[in-house]
């Protein structure tokens, strides 16, 4: 339980960093989604139930601080977590390239999922948002992917300090059913 509460606080701190420090970047579109990287990391650290609830809460907080009035991230983040849990056993996730690709694909797929949700609830077609695929989503996903290996390393260090567990690679960490 202590692990869940500490991870939730860490998630809140990461969200605040994302809304403050990262917004000072001169080019907004290269701001990586570090909360998504954290959610992916949680998939290696937690069993599905606790991790799913944690991802749900982090999605809820993300919605709270965004201009998103309905709460799309509350739906998408638990799905991202559970999908990452599903794939972590099936793919080789060590090394810079694979971790980057893993995060890049998840960021892109989550963006597409949110876009589909937005289109589903909006009565008018969202023609305005199509260019954002190339100008915003793709660059952000790319930089999220680039930042992932470094942040996975930082999260590993952090969790080994907090939970006093020996440092292990992304593949070996956490729950095994």
């Amino acid at each position: 339980m202590k692990r869940v509460i500490l991870s939730l606080f860490a998630g809140i701190l990461i969200l605040i960093l994302q809304t403050t420090l990262l917004s000072y970047s001169p080019v907004q579109r290269i701001r990586p989604d570090i909360l998504l990287i954290f959610t992916l990391y949680l998939a290696f650290l937690f069993p599905p139930i606790f991790g799913g609830i944690l991802a749900f809460l982090l999605g809820y907080l993300m919605d709270l601080f965004s201009g998103n009035t309905l709460g799309f991230y509350t739906v998408s983040r638990p799905l991202v977590f559970l999908a990452a849990q599903f794939f972590r056993e099936r793919f080789y996730l060590e090394g810079f390239f694979f971790q980057s690709l893993f995060a890049f694909l998840f960021s892109l797929l989550e963006g597409i999922f949110i876009f589909i949700l937005m289109n589903a609830v909006q009565p008018l077609p969202l023609r305005n948002l199509y260019p954002l695929f190339f100008t915003s989503l793709l660059p952000q996903s790319f930089f999220t992917g680039l930042a992932t290996p470094l942040l996975f390393f930082v999260f590993q260090k952090g969790s080994s300090l907090l939970f006093r567990q020996p440092e292990r690679g992304a593949k070996e960490i956490g729950y095994r059913p």
Binding site: T19, P48, F56, L64, S66, G67, N68, F72
Partner: protein, 294 residues
């Protein structure tokens, strides 16, 4: 007793969890769409808990940034530049207001409305956080319900319109920027008085929609608020037309608009908390009502 023992269908606990979380997410989405008080209260509570940390974080970042800018790099140039920029903003705002008054006089509009525009009751607020997502455009400010801020209130700067209040907590509020795809502001082209709706396009861009094809619009035209939406007073600068698209056929033409305010550099904003001067539409209604009584 372990947590998983609570599940009746132990073998299907993951499946049950996925269904439950998705269901909860969609229920929350539905409650938010209906604007239920319970969800709004919970949102406000969480915002109230998290925003002080956000404010402190912004303060630390700003302090470090300012120290570097003022003392390490350039001592006085930064200050002077800011003063000059502020002066330009003030002059620009004054210029637009003057233009509005001149045009209104030409068409024999009442001066009282413009006096009303200048006596708006506003409070200053500091931007303490930006939107964490890439799809949506909003900022968090350090003024809330206790300061008289309510949902839907207009948020402006000396340069022009910024957005409107989206969510409120006792001491904090979230502002939906005009660049967000959910935002729509009733506006007019200042030169030709053509009516249109300014919709957000993300990435510091907007689009002028529902602009009749017969109306004349050119690159460089200023677009101001019409005062018809009920949230914004008339004559506030929204942006400048950057591209006009006639699209070959149809009733409407479209135009790309660059907002007058740089939404990526927001630091301080004004929230209009007082009552707005009556819009021309409301005035007409009042006049008709009076005639009817006579």
């Amino acid at each position: 007793m372990r947590v998983r023992d609570f599940f009746v269908f132990r073998g299907y606990h993951l499946f049950v969890l996925i269904i439950l979380l998705l269901l909860l997410g969609f229920v929350l989405m539905s409650l938010r769409a209906k604007e239920r008080k319970g969800v709004e209260f919970f949102d406000a509570l969480l915002m109230e808990v998290c925003s002080p940390v956000q404010k402190a974080s912004t303060l630390v970042i700003k302090t470090v940034q300012e120290t570097f800018q003022r003392y390490v790099f350039l001592v006085n140039l930064q200050k002077e530049n800011r003063m000059l920029k502020q002066k330009i903003s003030e002059l620009q705002a004054g210029n637009h207001r003057m233009e509005e008054i001149r045009l209104a006089n030409e068409r024999l509009k009442q001066l009282l409305q413009f006096r009303g525009e200048n006596s708006l009751s506003m409070i200053g607020a500091e931007v303490i956080g930006q939107d964490p997502s890439s799809w949506f455009k909003s900022v968090t400010v350090d003024k809330g319900e206790r300061d008289g801020v309510k949902k839907g209130m207009a948020v402006i700067s000396p340069v022009g319109v910024i957005g409107q209040i989206l969510k409120t907590a006792p001491h904090y509020a979230s502002v939906l920027l005009i660049t967000d795809y959910n935002s729509a502001v009733d506006s007019i082209v200042q030169r030709t008085r053509a009516k249109a709706i300014v919709e957000g396009k993300g990435e510091n861009r907007c689009e002028l929609k529902y602009l009749l094809r017969t109306e004349e619009v050119a690159v460089g035209d200023a677009v101001v608020t019409s005062g018809l939406g009920g949230n914004f007073p008339k004559g506030l600068m929204v942006g400048e037309v950057k591209r006009v698209d006639k699209k070959g056929h149809g009733v409407f033409q479209y135009a790309d608009l660059a907002p007058s305010v740089d939404m990526t550099q927001l630091e301080e904003v004004f929230i209009i908390v007082g009552p707005l001067p009556p819009s021309p539409h409301q005035e007409e209604k009042v006049k008709k009502g009076k005639k009817g009584k006579k």
